[in-house]
Amino acid sequence: MDRRTFIKLTAITGTSATLASCGVPEHQLIRFVPDEELVPGIAEWKPSVCPLCASGCGLNVRVMMADVDITKDGQAGVVRMGVAKKLEGQESHPISQGGLCPRGQAAIQVTYHPDRLAQPIKRTGNRGAGTFEPISWDAAIAEVVGKLDALATAGNQKALAVVTGGRRRVLLDQFASKFGAGAPVTYELFSDDLLRRANQMSFGFAQLPTFDLSNANYVIGFGADFLGTWNAPVAHTAAYGRMRRGRPGVRGAFVQVEGRMSPTGASADEWVAANPGTEGVLALGIAHVILREKLRPADGGRPGALIDGWSAGLPAYAPQQVSTVTGVSAKRIERLAREFAERSPAVAIVGGVPLAHTNGLFTALAVNALNHLAGAVGQKGGVSFTPQLSRSTSPAGGSLVQLAAASPQVLILDETNPVFSAPKAWKVRETFQAVPFIVSFASFIDETSVLADLILPDHSFLEGWIDAAPESGSAQAVISVAGPAMKPLFQTRAAGDVILQVAGKLQKPVDLGAQTYDAYVKAALAPLGDDAWTAAQKQSGWWGELPKGVAVAPTPAEAKPAAARFVPPTFDGDAAQFPFHFLPYASAAFLDGSTAHLPWLQEMPDPITSAMWSSWVELNPKTAERLGIGLGDLVEVASSAGSLRAPAFINPGLAPDLIAMPVGQGHATYTRYASGRGVNPVELLAPVTHAETGTLAWAATRVKVTRAGEPDGKLVLFSARGELRENPREGETR
């Protein structure tokens, strides 16, 4: 090609390219006028609240200017706006105390997730097929209002059902009860309702406990992962740091009792393995020795009165008998009892696995009584209950299982994914399939929201008003609340606002006392005085002493207290056919699976296994050797409820009769990062429930394990790239 031709050709292609882009609006770069005043490169810090669990950590959000692709009135373009760059724990906030957990650090990816729903959508194909089309907000809200009005016209308000796992329970509860429907159904796989029940019986507070670890000298944990995934982990980890090294000359000791070494148990000075479901027996064995040796005043108080044989000195729990049941030596029980009684302030912590057995209530009551004996209740270095602002709520709704019998006509879903996290036998998917109209506030298509007829995506927590009422983690009352840290990226709307809007548009409007969600939260804070609202907005919340008369009062003791005694836990599955206890546990990255869509958490190495992007099955080294299973080998785990295959991880911190698996992977549909990845251990769970609360006993299933094949490369370990010398004593021999 000569020079002349080249220039001609360039001119032609250039012109046609320009002409082409003139005709197609999306090829034009529209710059909208920004309505925020920000200085490039200078960060502004705004308060917020972490939404990923119920503990309600206060956040400090770093906001900086950026160019953002947006759509405004149907026109695509770019606008310069303040966007969140980094989340940090709010220094002054009593729950986060400046720190965060790995999930809190990753929460920002919720806002910027590429698969976040950008606008309301309506189902087009078959239910569950995942085909939706966009719909306007006006049409969507009109449709919801129409469905609810139809129920009201037919006098069938009871046919409205609400399933929620989240922060808006109080609002949804008030809406449902004023509309005439039953209370919302709440479901969490790792529910703490059994412990709440026990704490109500023992102490009068149906709440998760707060532990004053900062001032404790001796801590016995019974299976609770309180530094990782359970209760308020950030607040308790902060206190744990002070317990270990925050007091000159005093270092609090920590003993953990469990069958699988949890990330929390790994930090213990002494690790005690007890047989599954016998932790309560061990607690009473310790109490027996303290009573026998008169190491503490024999006062059992209200919690002691609930235990069979307490006044007689717990004759059934002598160390020799306890040793037979728990597998912990009598000598060790005697020593632990002496240490626990003598190194006060001492406190016992129970939660998680021990309470997921069928006898969980007994275990919780036993540990509560031990705490009372140790003088730990309401004392420095002991256990207390964060004062709660009373809000009118109806008692908890029925269970997911009962929902089917109610055959609801309209179903509202908020922050919940029971199709993923409830046992198959509960037939949650089938129940939801049969509901004529389902509306969800989900931001992502997951196994539950995919069944919805209408999805009205919520703002991200950084884009709207966010509040939480921390149940534990602080000695003083806390209400976490914050306004938007940035403008919405998409055509989403705050779910709280949408609920209030729907309530107001009904033929017979439901009055919830506010038109917008911020006004609703403001009204809830009104009993705290005039300054509370203003103060709260500056620092991610309000904390302090509750004014008289607005705090939840303890319930009185039962007139005829239960005589709780040890009954061995029962398990689904015959021990001969299914020789192992199955232990699904909340994973450090994903909890119950609700954060599996965040890529930082997928690639974060697991604290115990260093696994990334993976599912795995944990086996004790001896068990693995006996079954001929090596690291990474494909194994099949089967229960009476189902079977699955995943790679093996050999874990020395696991009892030989246990098989453990992290919960979180195995999503059928949950964004590009989690869909089709790994397996979901919940599918193995038999529907064994606690008799007292109806909650799932998720550690009550037995399984069998067989080797199913060579490593398939699906177990991705970070440490496999080569670690330092495998010498745990490195640096100790100076």
Binding site: W271, M612, R677, F718, P728
Partner: protein, 231 residues
């Protein structure tokens, strides 16, 4: 005054939660590489939490150890670099990495005994709009260069500039790298080792303290404080 930025890690406080790992990704624009590349050993974590088992069930124990670049005073990665991309900064004492000098020989990764250097096998990819989270204070690394922990040098620089403008020294505790800021148990302490009054200097002298693989003569600036004191 020249600084010697250093860190102390109190293993008695560390609970292995991993907040530091995620915080580091958020602060330093570290890309995730995905399952396939991670399985090939290409995942990048400037800080990791190592885990060691000891003993047999039921007498088993475990230990955590967060490991990041030890910012060695006698860094093995520096003399092997043919382009002086890996070099020692006089004013901060840091073991710095100049990305646009790096030609990707990876000699430094071979020389480092701590396995804390990571090679960019790809240009980083963020599925939109995840890119909106990127920290404008931290430069992006393109394919073919090495990257590693910088002790969040962007935060050190910002604090130094502020202090200079206010005609004062940087205060102890004023600079917190992302991992230190995020740590809920306050296991990580950062500060100036050139200042004998700083908390990190005090901890570096602790009888509980030791350096990682210090027999190699690397003179690390990270001190690890053991859980239980020894006689």
């Amino acid at each position: 005054m020249a600084h010697r930025w250093g860190m102390a890690v109190d293993l008695d406080r560390c609970t292995g939660c991993g907040a530091c790992v995620t915080a580091c990704h958020a602060e330093n624009n570290i890309p995730t590489v995905g399952e396939l590349q991670a399985s090939r050993g290409r995942a990048m974590h400037w800080i990791r939490v190592e885990r060691y088992f000891e003993g047999e069930f039921p007498e088993v124990s475990m230990k955590y150890r967060p490991v990041m670049c030890q910012q060695c005073d006698a860094a093995p990665c520096e003399p092997v670099c043919p382009t002086y991309a890996s070099h020692h900064s006089e004013e901060t004492g840091l073991n710095a990495q100049i990305y646009n000098r790096c030609i990707g020989t990876r000699y430094c990764a071979n020389a480092c005994p701590y396995n804390v250097r990571f090679f960019d096998f790809f240009n980083p990819v963020w599925d939109k709009p995840l890119h909106l989270q990127l920290n404008p204070d931290v430069s992006m690394r393109e394919v073919g260069v090495m990257e590693k922990c910088t002790f969040c040098v962007q935060r050190i620089t910002a604090a130094t500039i502020t202090a200079e403008a206010e005609k004062r020294e940087v205060k102890d505790g004023e600079v917190k790298p992302a991992c230190v800021q995020s740590c809920p148990s306050k296991a990580l302490v950062f500060g100036d080792l050139a200042d004998p009054e700083s908390e990190v200097s005090r901890l570096a002298e602790s009888p509980r303290g030791s350096k990682l693989l210090e027999d190699l003569g690397t003179a690390p600036k990270v001190t690890y404080l053991q859980g239980v004191e020894h006689a």
